[in-house]
């Protein structure tokens, strides 16, 4: 049952190919994998296009399992009201953005949304520290200490000055060597917005090659 008998219609496939960066094989593979997540009674083509798969099931995919941003990725791509489930089309969107051929622009756009943990349209200090926590993993030994974190983020941001909203960060910082925000925050408003983010990302030699998920 699973996948072999149920094929997407030609027209739909053509449309999906127009709208994503995926090839026909990739779309079919994605559909197959998606159907495998569904309970067996819902595996017909029509139902698989309608039904939504919960976050937990998507996260159990081996491609996403080890990713520290998996919840964020699913949330960003989910179109359901509660943002906790993915339809097949959402899933295709996800794969398209993470595919090899997607443009750096769209990749960096979604990367920004993934890193924007509070969905407010800018990367502020909380987002950045959240991001660092994601990157350093869950283990105790790999976590950065609070002061290290602060310094790191300051490197991205500190020239925002004592007047920025997060006053508390000013205190223990003896070295006024600014780091991440310092580098990326072009307009010095203490946060990184999408265009600043894309500006930085576009300079990165290896963003496009590592921002990839292949089924």
């Amino acid at each position: 049952m699973g996948g072999s008998g149920s094929r997407l219609s030609k027209e739909l496939l053509a449309e999906y190919q127009d709208l994503t960066f995926l090839t026909k094989q990739e779309i079919l593979l994605a559909h197959k994998r998606f159907c495998e997540l569904l309970p067996p009674e819902h595996r017909s083509v029509e139902e698989s296009l309608q039904i939504r798969v919960s976050l937990e099931q998507i996260l159990s995919l081996p491609e996403l399992k080890a990713n520290p941003f998996k919840e964020r990725i699913c949330r960003v791509f989910s179109t359901s009201p509660a943002r906790d489930s993915l339809s097949f089309e959402d899933f295709l969107d996800l794969l398209s953005v993470f595919s090899d051929t997607a443009t750096p622009d769209i990749k960096s756009h979604y990367a920004f949304r993934i890193f924007d943990f509070d969905d407010d349209g800018t990367l502020n200090r909380e987002d950045l520290s959240h991001l660092v926590n994601c990157l350093t993993g869950q283990g105790e030994d790999t976590r950065l200490s609070a002061s290290e974190m602060k310094q790191l983020i300051d490197n991205v941001s500190s020239r925002a000055g004592p007047g920025s909203q997060r006053e508390g960060l000013g205190l223990g910082l003896k070295l006024s060597l600014p780091q991440i925000l310092e580098e990326s925050d072009i307009d010095r408003d203490g946060t990184i917005n999408l265009s600043e983010f894309q500006h930085v990302i576009s300079r990165s030699p290896d963003f496009a090659s590592s921002f990839k998920i292949v089924l």
Binding site: T20, N67, L135, A160, I186, D187, P205
Partner: protein, 889 residues
């Protein structure tokens, strides 16, 4: 005409909107503003988005919903069309999207670009195709083009799929409906036909792309490795696959144009001396040990240079084999150069600004350090650890950049380490020279053992195996940063390999010169033998004497074949050593660790032997040098490329298996793409270095007198001259002679130098302009910020931050694209960006409404209390007329 209309329409729109806009901006809050944000990014293709009014979302929402019900019946559309012409007031309403998804949550809405709606002028066209005026036709044409562009670039838009699908269907429907309207009479049919062809072409291209991706081999294997080891290890396999592709092309070239014609049409084996095993070797020629050394029958086969005959044409096709041989040899290098440079160029295109990347080290660490391909938890743990280390390292670097411990000791140690390594390099070079010399002695002797025959290859392989770890040990003295250390290590291994290769070549060259000097005497002997044979007494004079059996003819040593055999042996032994190293070093070690761990006194897996890591740099360098040998050897041993294709094929499977079965992910994970071009650069260097000796031998050594396609000629390249003289009309020969004149070549070279100089200076000035623009952005920002912060202080904090973000986006875009003129089609959009492209003043003027989160951010040096006084004095206000219009809120 239509442009004018539009221009006016836009004007009216703009002027009509201005009063409402500010209110709308407040009322709309985050949603509308944020909505504009994704729209800032144009697709990479650079095509402007067709008529998309970005500001529409600033409209009060209920407007849209009200109008959403207005259907698509053509009657209504015509009605609206008329209305639109009558009064500009309704224009905004018309732009309302016909359908509005209400079910989507607000949050989601924020990220969505406003829905593309039917352009207003479309309405009028629905009434009838026949009555179309020129102007309407032009407008529809434009819209159809816009829609087509939209269809083509839809995938670049960050919308959810449902929306994209709807947009796509709408646009397609539109295009289909109005395409036919365009053109009249004959033109109409032609237009329709052209559209049909275009559609078919798109479909064909898509199918072809699908086919192409299906043809790429080992996709799944590499994906498996990617998910286990991250992109760095996979990059080796991708490189290997690329190399395999290149070698397949070379193989096709050589086999198709040289080997197969020779085998099919050439004189068969045994007919002439160069194609026959000499009498002395005959009884052993089929022994495996002899064949294994590429002697015996293999030596006298089409795999090697010596087998080819110097007949100008062969077979009924009158195929010019010597000419083809020469041209293929040249085009092997030509093709390789082209493909390497092309892939280097395409690699660099992605990251054009190397100089700037130094400014963003921390941001890159933060935003781009995760490898999303990792799907294995163990690898993920390693990655976490390495990211943490790199964070900590960079913090420490930042902190202690000025602190330096005993600098003299470090310097001394580094000098010592370099001295030791240079000693190693010299030693290995001398060793190889010595061994090659000795092998020449051995080759003169009769009974040599297996070791003595293969001494050169064994020594070279052993050096390649043991020197890199030795270097690593010595490098521990230097106490470099791991990243720099890796570079040094790579450079040293490269030097080692290169030195070995060149020593080998020099020794080989000695050998060749020796053989060449003997050639004259052998030639005399051959002549003498033949002369004696035909003139000796004791033969019945009446019967003509049968020719001497080719196996009995004394012959020269054929240095070309000897060189080819050396390279062939080297390649094979290199391959075997690699495989054996993998088997012993990785697989057996992994088995030992895995199974002996149950009965051992310490933890083998975590402790001393543990599992091996995949040595990316060593493997890549090995591959590169192997390819260098192929390039060098392929001229004298056409079969070498075939062997190499087999080698790459087997090593793909073998190494894939080995890496999955017995290696563990790296502790020190370094990024793939950064080193990618580095590898390509090495490959290019090796290609160039391997081109040199081949070019030297072709240009300045005489070919052997009795073997190979060029025998009897003074130099190998004479074959070209011969072809020009005999096969081309005489005027062509004259042209070639004229072209080869130094009087023409020197100016050509000069011209190339000048071109390089010119392009270089152009790129320099461009990068300077780039830097200036960057500075300009920053200056603009700071000025604007100070202005905003001042305003923000005095106003209520009701604005959402997102608005600002979107405005900034516009501005950045503006400045980055400032120099490129915006296509006319974009003028339709009542957008700031389109209104006056290239000038940032008006755009930044619109950002004036203050936003709260800005309030605190000021450029250093502006004291908060000085705020309220500033707006009056600020140059910004007086500079921009728009901002002056704005009442201070």
């Amino acid at each position: 005409m239509s442009h004018q209309l539009k221009g006016r329409g836009e004007e009216g729109d703009r002027s009509g909107r201005r009063p409402t806009r500010k209110q709308a901006a407040r009322a709309e809050g985050a949603a509308g503003r944020r909505g504009a944000q994704p729209g800032q990014k144009e697709p990479a293709g650079g095509s402007p988005r067709p008529g998309s009014p970005r500001r529409k979302q600033a409209e009060p929402r209920r407007h849209l919903e009200e109008l959403g019900e207005q259907g698509r019946s053509s009657a209504e559309r015509t009605f609206e069309g008329r209305r639109k012409r009558d009064g500009r007031a309704s224009l905004k309403k018309q732009r309302a999207p016909p359908k509005k998804e209400k079910e989507v949550s607000r949050k989601e809405e924020m990220w969505k670009r406003p829905k593309k709606h039917r352009p207003p002028s479309l309405a009028s066209s629905a009434s009838g195709a026949e009555t179309l005026s020129e102007e309407e036709r032009a407008r529809i044409l434009e819209q159809v083009e816009d829609k087509k562009k939209l269809i083509a670039t839809m995938r670049n838009k960050p919308w959810p799929m449902a929306k994209k699908l709807r947009e796509l269907r709408e646009a397609q429907e539109f295009v289909e409906k109005y395409e036919g309207v365009l053109g009249k009479g004959k033109g109409k049919r032609l237009y329709a036909y052209r559209m049909l062809v275009a559609k078919k072409w798109v479909k064909f291209k898509r199918d072809f792309d699908n086919f192409k991706t299906q043809c790429i081999p080992w996709e799944m294997k590499i994906k498996d490795i990617e998910s286990h080891f991250g992109s760095s290890v996979a990059s080796y396999f991708i490189f290997l696959r690329w190399m395999y592709g290149v070698n397949l092309v070379l193989f096709g070239l050589i086999f198709g144009l040289v080997i197969i014609p020779e085998v099919l049409m050439g004189v068969p084996y045994g007919s002439i001396p160069r194609k026959t095993v000499p009498r002395a070797e005959e009884e052993k020629a089929m022994d495996f040990s002899v064949l294994w050394d590429f002697e015996g029958y293999i030596k006298y086969s089409a795999l090697f240079y010596g087998f080819y005959n110097n007949q100008r044409t062969i077979g009924w096709l009158r195929y010019r084999l010597p000419m083809a041989y020469f041209m293929v040899g040249v085009s092997v290098f030509g093709y390789s150069l082209m493909i390497v440079i092309r892939s280097m160029a395409s690699n660099t295109q992605g990251s054009a600004s190397d100089g700037e990347s130094a400014n963003f080290t921390f941001s890159f660490k933060m935003f781009t350090s995760w490898d999303y391909l990792i799907g294995n938890s163990e690898t993920a743990d390693n990655k976490y650890a390495s990211i943490t280390t790199s964070f900590k390292e960079s913090i420490v670097d930042e902190q202690e950049s000025n602190k330096e411990e005993n600098i003299h000791l470090t310097r001394f140690l580094r000098v010592l380490a370099n001295f030791l390594i240079i000693c190693c390099l010299c030693g290995s070079g001398y060793l190889i020279y010595f061994v090659v010399k000795r092998s020449q002695e051995f080759s003169k002797m009769q009974n040599v053992s297996w070791y003595e025959r293969n001494e050169v290859e064994i020594v070279m392989s052993l050096l390649g195996m043991f020197c890199p770890p030795l270097f690593e040990t010595i490098a521990a003295l230097e106490n470099y940063h791991p990243r720099i250390g890796l570079k040094w290590q790579l450079g040293r291994i490269f030097a080692l390999f290169l030195g070995n290769l060149y020593t080998f070549l020099l020794a080989l060259m000695d050998d060749v010169h020796l053989k060449l000097s003997n050639e004259e005497t052998i030639k005399n002997i051959t002549h003498w033998t033949l002369f004696n044979y035909y003139n000796s007494s004791g033969w019945n004079e009446s019967v003509p004497r049968p020719p001497l059996h080719p196996a009995d003819v004394p012959r020269g040593s054929c240095w070309e074949t000897a060189v080819g055999i050396e390279f062939m042996r080297l390649t094979v032994s290199d391959m075997l050593v690699t495989y054996i190293t993998i088997l012993l070093g990785d697989f057996l070690r992994a088995c030992f660790v895995r199974f002996m761990n149950y009965c051992w006194c310490w933890d083998l897996e975590a402790g001393f032997p543990s599992y091996a890591e995949f040595d990316i740099s060593g493997n890549v360098l090995g591959l590169i040098f192997n390819q260098g040998m192929i390039w060098m050897g392929s001229f004298y041993a056409p079969g070498l490329v075939g062997i190499n294709v087999l080698r790459l094929l087997t090593s793909m499977y073998f190494q894939c298996w080995a890496v999955m079965s017995s290696n563990v992910p790296h502790e020190r994970v370094f990024k793939a793409s950064r080193s990618n071009n580095f590898y390509m650069g090495l490959l290019l260097l090796v290609l160039f270095l391997s081109l040199l000796p081949v070019a030297y031998t072709i240009m300045s050594l005489p070919p052997s007198f009795d073997c190979g396609p060029f025998s009897g000629k003074n130099r190998m390249y004479d074959v070209i001259q011969e072809t020009i003289e005999n096969d081309f009309p005489t005027f062509l020969g004259k042209i070639f002679a004229f072209l080869a004149n130094p009087g023409l070549i020197i100016p050509a070279i000069l011209l190339m130098f000048l071109a390089i100089y010119y392009l270089n200076s152009v790129s320099k000035s461009l990068s300077r302009a780039n830097a200036q623009l960057r500075k300009k952005i920053q200056a603009l920002r700071e000025v604007e910020k100070s202005h905003k912060s001042v305003k923000g202080r005095s106003t209520a904090q009701s604005e959402d931050t997102a608005k600002d973000a979107s405005q900034n986006a516009t501005q950045l875009q503006l400045i980055e694209e400032g120099t490129t003129p915006h296509p006319a089609s974009q003028n339709q959009t009542p957008d700031k960006k389109a209104q006056d492209p290239g000038t940032s003043t008006s755009a930044s003027g619109t950002t004036l409404p203050a936003s709260r989160h800005i309030s605190g951010a000021r450029p250093p040096g502006v004291r908060p209390d000085s705020g309220p006084a500033r707006p009056q004095t600020h140059p910004w206000r007086s500079a921009s007329g728009k901002s002056a219009q704005r009442p201070p809120q």
